[in-house]
Symmetry: D4
Subunit: 158 residues, 8 copies
């Protein structure tokens, strides 16, 4: 776990705004720093896996206007296999194990409610070992992993 | 909702791999396309909000090794206010309304279990109108919004 | 409770097919019965409230393609008032008291998921005494009250 | 999806009142419209599937004074088969897939509680793949699909 | 269903107090009635199955100081068989079908908590088709079927 | 806690069959015992509260053909008061505290489902401190406290 | 069940403080008692199984900083076998049967959340007959069996 | 976090067997170690808080034969206060915060079921902010914190 400082966060925040911003632009926006220092910092942030600059896809703009959580209960002995099978489906954008009433929790994008239902009943429900599925539509996301900035609490005091 | 083709997906996939890849590199990787065409395509993908190139933050590399879902039940009349209050907390990386047994569903990153618990009881639990909180640790994410590629089903047939 | 026979069911079934079918057409379709007898039977079925010929509205054709069940828990002492308040909303097509985990169960039609969510949070959730709402989308109805025929078991043996 | 105007709604509302009302009566009730225009409008409303004039059956008048919701959990892989099997039973007036804790939700009419219970245990419970049934009596319906008028929000502004 | 009057209730209430009270005692307690009329009335109440004079057993006095509700979920297709099997156990004092989350609901008397647990796990849990048992101790009964008097609402107005 | 033997159980079983059976009849049915001994035994069984001979009321014969469990959740601080208030209602034949998801569990008899619902919403639901009620109809009782015999395990070995 | 007095509790409390405190130290701390009496009392307390002096292990100091409750639902017929299998695992510090929604309830210590999850999915979930596991992290224990003193209510009044 | 070796575990296991075993006895049981080394090791284990030798109390031997889990839901804003209030009750042997459906989870010992119920309703239920209590009897503990040995996985490899 590498230490980060206020400057790292400033650079990261600007890249969150626009991941293709040039180092000189970043240097100009921050002020009091050379383009070269910015380049070095970005390289280090990426090498230390603190940030990754990526082309994030926006499901809604693609016409996938419906987002749903699907909670899946499975036969305990087949948990890992089922999770791996699910991971291969393109419409699933999020997949995690869960520790409570559900065993696997996924998020799917679809063009409409029927597509969600068909995917869950015709695809997920047919996977051997799937005992129960529970669909819960997500009406509105206010925050999302794609746009989560480095929290100030992550900055090492000096 | 704009149409996209196979070329758009190829470019988007490469930017998902590395958001700072230059247009010439992308052109070289794809082949049979000019750097200029790549530049134009990226501009259009971004303008149409299909993709956004961003510096995604990696909570684990920052030392926030614990991820938890928190399901929150609230007084119906204060739903929106509470969601907006929650949205301002840095440790919350995901926040959405929910339609089932819970009203608001969030995901938080923390250094350890105690920090999750303290945040939930000392911060969330003190917000007026919060009736119930349920913490569920997320042991392992296999897929994530940050790295979700354009699904092939989004490509318009021609 | 009035007795009905096979002829009553035949007439009722034809009116279910087309409520504006003329008595002579019905007589022709059934055979062995006069138009006058059909007219008399229809009058009696309606007078005894066995059937009511009505113009049933089709929500989907009107563009209300999303149907959702909403389960509502309320303060016990305000149950009747809340039910009456809800009954006045046009988007609610079904409203009944419930005896289990929920207190009132409704069905709403909407143009999309957001409209359902907004209606539930901004309208229902603001009614004093509403403690909890639970939205569950109805992916597909295979049968419906509008098209339910007289069951053969209702025919009095003679 | 066809557009409708205030006049369409007026006609539909009158047909909801009495599906066998003649076009001349409707014209008289509305005023300022010819019988011929009414006839044309009704034809169009029906052709566009906005309304269907039907002989709706009243279970209570037939002696089926008990109405119950039955929530059914099934083996995911047999969902569609079970739904189709259920659809053939005359006592079931409503049948829909569900997306939450239950998989299929039906409504049945019966002469008394015992008939509901016997139907659920001796018929539904014996269908292979049915894991669980939950009966919840419906004490009182305040609103129903049979009598749902065109909502004013469906009228196209001009 | 036979009609009953105030006199029937008075006699029934006295027999609830002491089922072996003689007809002459009852006549004396009520006043204004002959012993013979009392005898006739009791005979009729019993013949019409309104009351049954019985030696009710008191579990607590026998040392069965622990009372527990056990809620049992079963394979739907075996419901009746399992209920009949359970009915034969002496420690079960109450057994009924249920319509909600549970399928069969019983009440057992035992000398201590361990006996309840052993009975449930070693006897009930071993019956094929029993999926789940849920024990809930009954701390205190305030009212009981054994001592339920005829409600005044059962008296026919004259 | 008094000891009982096989003879006590025989007498108790006969009184369960008919609580007004005379001592001489009981002696004759059992054989090998004097009427006087029977009288003495009955007196002792009653004095030790092992049995109580009572006129048990049969709700169904009185026209109360519907039986329902009602599970009631209350404000913890008012539990005892609410239980006592409930105990005074004639239609409640069983009332006990509960230790699980519910706080008070009752059984009511009624002429039909509507009376149950009205009693629960208009009477129970209006008691201050009642948070939630859950009605579950009891389709069929196979065993009942009124007819529970002394279990053979209660007989003291000698 | 042996009687205990205030002196027994005083000795027990001191041994709870330090189980290796010598009898002379205990005598000195209490006053008015000989070392020999202390020795005799301790022997009796241990012989009567009121206390057991033991080296209690502190999981946190060993680096097992995560504590979790795991609620396990099992096939009723295999309950005892599964419990015995579980009892052999070293990471399980608490194991009890349960009477409610769960069948077996355990507490495990682990170095981190992943170890808990891996143990539950790879070990517990693979035991035949385990239907469902539910992990619930224990953020903080305020009281524990290891340090529970004799309650004053256990002291026999003299 | 201090390292421990096989010898530490051997000593700890013997102290778990009998916390008052003398160092010379321990040395003799283990063999190949001096009494002095044992004394030093014990001192270090205790100083590093790996073990604590304590007089553990046995509730059952004291006549507290009933053990119950009580799950408590509270007003989020009063969680800590309520936990602290509860911690002062002698009959509570275990008290921890919980992260799932319940907020505080305790274990109580009592002489009988009534004492548990009275404690929960008359004491816990009266604490302001307590919304709900759920009692679940613990039929049998197979493992317990008091007797948990150092797991072999805690031994540092050398």
């Amino acid at each position: 776990m590498s230490k980060i400082d206020t400057l790292d966060k400033k650079i990261s925040d600007l890249l969150l705004e626009d991941g293709r911003m040039s180092c000189s632009q970043i240097a100009a926006r921050i002020g009091d720093i050379t383009e070269r220092a910015v380049r070095y910092r970005i390289k280090r942030l990426i090498k230390n896996r603190i940030i990754a600059v990526r082309g994030n896809v926006n499901a809604v703009a693609l016409g996938f206007v419906v987002c749903a959580d699907v909670f899946i209960e499975v036969e305990p002995a087949r948990l890992v296999d089922i999770a791996n099978t699910l991971a291969s489906y393109e419409s699933i954008s999020y997949l995690a194990y869960a520790t409570g009433d559900t065993d696997i929790s996924i998020q799917v994008y679809a063009r409409n409610n029927s597509d969600v239902f068909d995917f869950v009943t015709e695809v997920i429900g047919q996977i051997p070992g799937v005992h129960k599925t529970h669909i819960s539509y997500v009406p509105n996301k206010l925050k999302d992993d794609q746009v989560w900035p480095i929290p100030t609490s992550a900055i090492t005091k000096t």
